[in-house]
Structure formats: structure tokens, C-alpha cells
């Protein structure tokens, strides 16, 4: 039996180790990973996908843990995907979110996995969509994806999940302004965590003002994640949002969009890969002319693109 077959069997049996191994293969983008996805991905098994994002220090991890516990308490099977930034220089990463899950790990029905962003700039890892697929197929009811948390450009999460929770923290002051740059716009639910801190009211009001400009009505909740205050309200708000999306067809739309994006991303990554190899080879003779300025980048680029598409050769 091949390794993939063994993994497929284990996966179908509900073996967590097989799930973990499958995720690694998929994350690595290897051929075996694709095989696994082809075998295992089931369109009929859907989970509710929740994204949690926000600036560093907001308490995302603690809140995620409490949210997960609330869902586990009502009998759900929950998977957590925790993303941390990879070093742009070495590629390595300290995946430091799991350590904050110490209160909830060890329960059956809970799976926690840490991912490095591995070069992706949108707050997630490129592996998130296929990994989410795997988790759905494995049978989790809810998958919570916690983003990197730089608070700057984390909009990728919108395309990866159904509901986005944006977590803010009081005393941000100017940071609320910074947050406005796209983050607040992606929120389906907004949370002011550490709400016992000074300035919580003010931050909540500012967020409400900012959210008024948007197309939907987004609730602003207050939580104290460390003690669990407000978590029940968060669960309700997420349930409400989900029900609304089902009712007005938005859920179906989002899923379609995810499917399209997945296909597009995958196809273009194959093409880009091929292009990269081809260019590498093709440019070796052209470089001197380009470097010396004899040939300009733009003209050459247009010609190369056309050539690549035709699969032929052309002089610049």
C-alpha cells in the first residue's frame, strides 16, 4: 500500500495522526498532497469557517481559545488553524499561538495546528484553503483560522472564511485610524477585547462610527477574554451571522467564490512555475542586452509573454 493510500485509510478512520500528516503534505505543495486532496476532499462535508484577526496585543489567541471552548461545550468538533509570520530572511518561524491554547488542548473533538505564513503577505498562509478543505472533510463542525496579527494588511482571511471577527483593544487611539485601513471593512463581527481597560467605551464608539460607513450592519461587542466575559454574546453573534448568510444566499456565494479562487490560484501557480523555469532558461542569453540597456524591460517582457504563450522562440 502506498503512503498516500495508508494516509487516506487513516484519515477516513478518523485518525488524527493521519490528518496531521495529510496537512503537512498539502502544506508542502507536494504531488502527494494533491493526490490526497483529490481523494479526500468532499464537497458535501462543510464546516462553518470563522476567521479571527486584529492587531498584536489584542488578545486574539485567548479569545479564540474561549470561543473554541464554548463551541466544544455544545458538542461541536472544532479545529483551530493558528498562523504566525515566517521570517522573510530565513523562512523559519516561531509558531507561538499554540502555547496560548493550554487551557483547552487535550480535549477530544479539538484539533490545533500551527502554520507559518511561509512568504504569504496577506495574513494567512497559502496553504490555508486546501488545509481548510481537509479539515472540513475530516468532519469538523467549525474551523477557526487565526491570522498572523500584524494588523496591517490582513485581508486574505475574508476570502478564506465565512465569518470574520476583528478583535480590537482599548487604548489603541491612533491605531483605530490605522485599523480603518481595510481591516474594519472586512469585519462581520467586531470585538473590543480587554474591555475592562480604560478607553473601552471610546474605542467601541469609534469602531461603531467607522462601521456605519459600510454596507452591512456589524455588531460591536465587548469581551474580557481572560475571564470569558462576553464570549457567549460572541457565539450568538456568529450564529446570527451564519444564519443570515444561509438565508440570503451569501454563504453559497462565498463558497463559490472560494472554489473559483482555489482553482484560479492553483492553475496560476502551475503556470507561474512553468513560466519561472522557462524564463530562467530563456533569459540566460538575453541578460547582457537587458543589463546594458540595449533592450528595454517592457518591450522585451511583452515579446517574451507572447512567445511563452505560443511556446516558441523570438528575438528581442
Amino acid at each position: 500500500m502506498s503512503r498516500v493510500d495508508r494516509l487516506v485509510q487513516g484519515f477516513r478512520r478518523g485518525d488524527m495522526r493521519a490528518l496531521a500528516r495529510a496537512i503537512s503534505l498539502v502544506e508542502a505543495g507536494e504531488a502527494q498532497g494533491e493526490e490526497l486532496l483529490a481523494e479526500l476532499a468532499r464537497v458535501d462535508r462543510r464546516a462553518r469557517l470563522i476567521g479571527v484577526t486584529g492587531p498584536p496585543g489584542a488578545g486574539k489567541s485567548t479569545l479564540t481559545a474561549k470561543l473554541a471552548q464554548a463551541l466544544l461545550d455544545r458538542g461541536e468538533r472544532v479545529a483551530l488553524l493558528l498562523i504566525d509570520p515566517s521570517s522573510p530572511f530565513t523562512g523559519g518561524a516561531i509558531l507561538g499561538d499554540r502555547i496560548r491554547m493550554h487551557d483547552i488542548v487535550g480535549q477530544s473533538g479539538l484539533y490545533v495546528r500551527s502554520l507559518g505564513s511561509r512568504g504569504s503577505l496577506g495574513g494567512l498562509s497559502r496553504a490555508v484553503p486546501p488545509v481548510v478543505q481537509l479539515l472540513e472533510s475530516f468532519g469538523f463542525d467549525t474551523v477557526i483560522v487565526e491570522t498572523v496579527g500584524t494588523g496591517q494588511a490582513e485581508t486574505d482571511v475574508v476570502e478564506a472564511v465565512d465569518s470574520v471577527v476583528v478583535v480590537a483593544v482599548p487604548g489603541l487611539g491612533d491605531d483605530v485610524q490605522a485599523m480603518k485601513a481595510g481591516i474594519i471593512e472586512i469585519a462581520d463581527v467586531c470585538v473590543v477585547n480587554k474591555a475592562d481597560r480604560e478607553g473601552a467605551e471610546r474605542t467601541a464608539r469609534q469602531l461603531e462610527e467607522a462601521l456605519k460607513l459600510g454596507p452591512r450592519s456589524v455588531p460591536v461587542l465587548a469581551t474580557i477574554a481572560t475571564s470569558g466575559v462576553g464570549v457567549a454574546a460572541l457565539v450568538n453573534a456568529l450564529d446570527d451571522h451564519y444564519r443570515a448568510m444561509v438565508a440570503d444566499g451569501e454563504l453559497a456565494q462565498r463558497r463559490k467564490a472560494r472554489l473559483r479562487k482555489a482553482l484560479y490560484t492553483y492553475t496560476s501557480s502551475i503556470v507561474n512555475g512553468r513560466l519561472g523555469e522557462w524564463l530562467e532558461h530563456r533569459l540566460s542569453s538575453l541578460w547582457p542586452d537587458i543589463e546594458s540597456g540595449q533592450v528595454d524591460v517592457y518591450t522585451c517582457g511583452r515579446k517574451l509573454a507572447a512567445e511563452f504563450q505560443r511556446g516558441g522562440e523570438e528575438q528581442c
Binding site: I94, G96, I99, R100, H102, D103, T226
Partner: protein, 535 residues
């Protein structure tokens, strides 16, 4: 034409706090410290807290010791006292330090390994068997459950017929550095502070000769900080304790005279001496100016020193004797009140009897043969030492101000600021060693091929089983109804605002175990959950 600069070994010489060291210091370098240097015994105590220092009495030679069970440790204490040690210092095992009995699941494999296992008053009685508590002062390295061990000590003294008013000693009782650097915490910060201030209040009336806290920089340094950070973070923690006590309604001059400190003595000889002097000066100013203490004894920084454990090498262990000698000398020249010298084999195990004897002799030779104890603050007035003292004072004061700015030590620890700074320094040190910018003799230079060291101290693996048996025995023998009642009263007291010490004493006298007492407190106080930071 420019005179050729004489060549030097490095382009820049810096100490562990990254302060640049000049080639030579002159009178100009030691001006600028505010006010005259003063004399030992006079505010701000730069030169020492007493006018006579070691001419009156040597520092206390207090070797940290403890292993396996109370019987073995008692034997080691009596040996050390016979060999001329002048005070006891108790090392407890990790389950004891974290409030677990020896039969707890998490105690598996840990019982008696890094210190003595104490599960109840019964063990404590054996630990101090034949040791007169009115004659010997005892320092106990215990933090989160300090109240319980102090209560046990008081109870043992009672049985010896010694009144608490006569008891001399120290409990470390410094929870902030546990959160920041050492890791043996139990309860969350606010509740821990309550326990600490309860001890301050109780002792100021009942055990007035007792040092109720040893505000520690040793562990912060061991975790990798620089000398400046060690001084700054320690004093910041001290500020937090003083403030907590004031907030609890105590008056500063009522408890401050019994605060004590605990520092590291590390590799850079002169930096350490300057650090001790700078710390004294800084603390005196803080107590007088910031907290309005008027009693000079409230302004004096008294401290114990331990030579730096992390500087010991596993390679060529005898070299450690030389390291410890230099570090001990620095502590003495810096004016320490008491001193522990590490043993040569401690990079690898707890010390053998022979190794600890050499460590003790190190102190005795410095005291009796070298002459350095015959004059107070002999390095006072040295251009270099005064310049360095000023530099460390300034740099530490800046760090203290920074911690103040983010809301004080407790907040800085919550935010992970202290921890991050310590980690960064630790990483920088490691890189210096691996790049050979910093030489460690025998480790990255002057290595030899050596076999495994022979004759290391080994803790008998059966200690755990023996302790479990003792526990079972104890629970069968004691009056369990009395224990239950005492624990119930303890729970009620913990939930109230009353001082906890009397209730802890009652429980301990009834032979409630350490684990039972701490479990009650865990239920009422909750447990600390670290906001781990790792960058």
C-alpha cells in the same frame, strides 16, 4: 602626523551591560556623581550599609543546600555548620516550590532532585532536628508557598521552645521574578501580592527579626540579563512590593527595614562590584525620595549574593573553583551581607560533600587570609570603580523609569517587556560565545579531551517512593477532622481580607500537607497563566 595608536586586543572593550570601557581612568572620570561619595553607613550607602562592615563581623557564609529527603538534608546542614558555615540556606525540590505533595502526578521524577522534599510539618521537624533555631539563622528559597514554609518553620521553633520573636532568617518570597525569570509561580499576581503583604504585616509584629522578602536579581541574571538589567528589574520589582505594602495600609518604616535583596555575582569582576554599589545608592534614593522613608534602616539595601551558576562549565570542572573565587571576591568587595559560593560540579549535578567544602573554604580563605575584609570598601575612590558605579546607576535608573512609564513592574511583566529584554540579552550572549567574541575557557577555547566526571552526587531514585510512603503514613496517623476544619477556615480566610498567616499556621500545626494547603488556595485564588512571549 598622527601618533600611531597602540594596538589593542579588540576594537572596543565592553562589559556585559555593553558599557564601553576606557583604556585608563583618571580623576576626571569619577567626578559627576551627585554629591560627595560619603562614608559607609551614611546615606546613600554607596560604600556600604554599616560603618564597620566586615571589621565588625564577616558576611554570613550561607551555602544553599538541600536534597532528597529531610534526613539527608539535615545531615548536610549539620556537616556545613560543623565546617564553619554561619547560616543555613534551604533548597527545596520543585514539587515543594510549586505547592505539590510528593505523590502528585506532576511530581513524578522530580521529588528531592533540586532540593529537599517537604510535604508537611513532620518533614520540617526532621529537617531541623538537632539545629537550635534560636542560634542559627535560616534562609529559605521559597516563593509562591512561602507563607506555608514560614509557618512550618515557626511551628518547628515552637516545638523547640523558641518564640517567633527570636527567629532570624529570610524567606525569598519574591513572586515577581518568578513570573519574569524563574517559573515557580502558583497564583496570579494580585493574590500573590496579598500573600506577600500579609507576611510583611504578620512578621512585623510576630517575627520582627525575620527578613520577609529577598527581592531577587540573581535569577534575572541567570536567565540572561545584563548587569544593568539585573539591577534595574530587581529594584523595579522592589518598588512594586513597597507600593503594594503601602496600598495594603502598612507604613513604610514599619516593614521596609526587613526588606532584603539577592544578587548574582557574575563574570566581569569590576562591573559586579560597581553594580552592588550602584544598587545601594539607587535604592537609598528611591526609598527616601519616592517613598518618604525616614528610618535609615528603611533606606539600606542589604543583600545576599550567590556566584553565578550559569557561568559554571561542565568542561574541566575544577576551573569553576577559580571562577567562583573571583566572583566571591567581587561580592565581598561590593559589600554583600551574606554569600553563597557555588561548587565546582554544579554544572552537572548537586554538589558532593567535598565540592561544597571547597566552596565554603573559598569564602573562609577570602575572609581570614586575604586581608580584604580588614578595610571597608577598599575600592572606594578608584577612578574606574566610581565611574562605573555612576554609569550603572544612570543606566539602571533609565530602565527603572522605562518600567515606571509602562505602569510599573507588574504591568511590565504582564506585557512581557522584562521577559523580552532578558531573552534578547540571553540570545546576544549566546551569539557572542558561539562567535568567540566572548571566550569561555575550556568551552570554546583551551578545550581538552576529557572523560565523564566521576563521583557526581546522585539522588536516589527511591526518594519519591519513600516520600509517598511517609505521606500515606502521616495521613493515617493525624487527626483528619482537625485538618479538614483547619482547611475550611483557611478557605474562608483566603476569600476574606483577613491576614492569612494565622490560618496557615493552624493548618500546618494540624499536619495538613503543603499540597492540601496550596490546593485550598488554588481553588480560591486561581492559578497563574503566563502570557508567554517568545520572539
Amino acid at each position: 602626523m598622527e601618533e600611531k595608536k597602540p594596538s589593542e586586543r579588540k576594537r572596543s572593550f565592553r562589559n556585559t551591560s555593553n558599557i564601553e570601557i576606557k583604556r585608563v581612568y583618571t580623576a576626571e572620570d569619577s567626578t559627576g556623581s551627585d554629591g560627595a561619595l560619603g562614608l559607609p553607613g551614611d546615606y546613600p550607602f554607596t560604600r556600604g550599609v554599616q560603618p564597620t562592615m566586615y571589621r565588625g563581623r564577616f558576611w554570613t557564609m550561607r551555602q544553599y543546600a538541600g536534597m532528597a529527603s529531610a534526613e539527608e538534608s539535615n545531615a548536610r546542614y549539620r556537616y556545613l555548620l560543623e565546617q564553619g558555615q554561619t547560616g543555613l540556606s534551604v533548597a527545596f525540590d520543585l514539587p515543594t516550590q510549586i505547592g505539590y505533595d510528593s505523590d502528585h502526578a506532576l511530581a513524578q521524577g522530580e521529588v528531592g532532585k533540586v532540593g529537599v522534599a517537604i510535604d508537611s510539618l513532620a518533614d520540617m521537624e526532621v529537617l531541623f532536628g538537632g539545629i537550635p533555631l534560636d542560634k542559627v539563622s535560616t534562609s529559605m528559597t521559597i516563593n509562591a508557598p512561602a507563607a506555608v514554609l514560614l509557618a512550618m518553620y515557626i511551628a518547628v521553633a515552637e516545638k523547640q521552645g523558641v518564640s517567633p520573636a527570636k527567629l532570624n532568617g529570610t524567606i525569598q518570597n519574591d513572586i515577581l521574578k518568578e513570573y519574569a525569570a524563574r517559573g515557580t509561580y502558583i497564583f496570579p499576581p494580585a493574590q500573590s501580592m496579598r500573600l506577600i503583604t500579609d507576611i510583611f504585616a504578620y512578621c512585623s509584629e510576630q517575627v520582627p527579626e525575620w527578613n520577609t522578602i529577598s527581592i531577587s536579581g540573581y535569577h534575572i541574571r541567570e536567565a540572561g540579563s545584563t548587569a544593568v538589567q539585573e539591577a534595574a528589574f530587581t529594584l523595579s520589582n522592589g518598588i512594586a512590593y513597597v507600593q503594594a505594602a503601602l496600598d495594603a495600609g502598612l507604613r513604610v518604616d514599619d516593614f521596609a527595614p526587613r526588606l532584603s535583596f539577592f544578587f548574582n555575582s557574575h563574570v566581569d569582576f569590576f562591573e559586579e562590584i560597581a553594580k552592588f554599589r550602584a544598587a545601594r545608592r539607587l535604592w537609598a534614593k528611591i526609598m527616601r525620595e519616592r517613598f518618604g522613608a525616614t528610618n535609615p534602616r528603611s533606606q539600606m539595601l542589604r543583600f545576599h549574593t550567590q556566584t553565578g551558576g550559569s557561568t559554571l562549565t561542565a568542561q574541566q570542572p575544577d576551573n569553576n573553583i577559580i571562577r567562583v573565587t573571583l566572583q566571591a571576591l567581587a561580592a565581598v568587595l561590593g559589600g554583600t551581607q551574606s554569600l553563597h559560593t557555588n561548587s565546582r560540579d554544579e554544572a552537572l549535578a548537586l554538589p558532593t560533600e567535598e565540592s561544597v567544602r571547597i566552596a565554603l573554604r573559598t569564602q573562609q580563605i577570602i575572609a581570614y587570609e586575604s586581608g580584604v575584609a580588614d578595610v571597608v570598601d577598599p575600592l572606594g575612590g578608584s577612578y574606574y570603580i566610581e565611574s562605573l558605579t555612576n554609569a550603572i546607576e544612570q543606566a539602571a535608573a533609565a530602565q527603572i523609569a522605562r518600567i515606571d512609564a509602562c505602569g510599573g513592574a507588574v504591568r511590565a511583566i504582564e506585557l512581557g517587556i522584562m521577559q523580552r529584554d532578558i531573552q534578547d540579552s540571553a540570545y546576544a550572549w549566546q551569539q557572542q560565545v558561539e562567535s568567540k567574541e566572548r571566550i569561555v575557557v575550556g568551552v570554546n577555547q583551551f578545550q581538552v579531551r576529557e572523560g565523564a566526571p566521576r563521583g557526581l552526587e546522585r539522588i536516589d531514585a527511591s526518594v519519591g517512593e519513600k516520600q509517598k510512603a511517609k505521606l500515606a503514613n502521616l495521613k493515617a496517623r493525624r487527626d483528619n477532622a482537625k485538618v479538614e476544619e483547619a482547611l475550611a477556615i483557611l478557605a474562608r480566610t483566603a476569600a476574606s481580607k483577613d491576614n492569612l498567616m494565622p490560618a496557615v499556621l493552624e493548618a500546618v500545626r494540624a499536619y495538613a500537607t503543603l499540597g492540601e494547603v496550596c490546593d485550598v488556595l488554588r481553588r480560591v485564588f486561581g492559578e497563574y497563566r503566563p502570557e508567554e512571549t517568545l520572539t
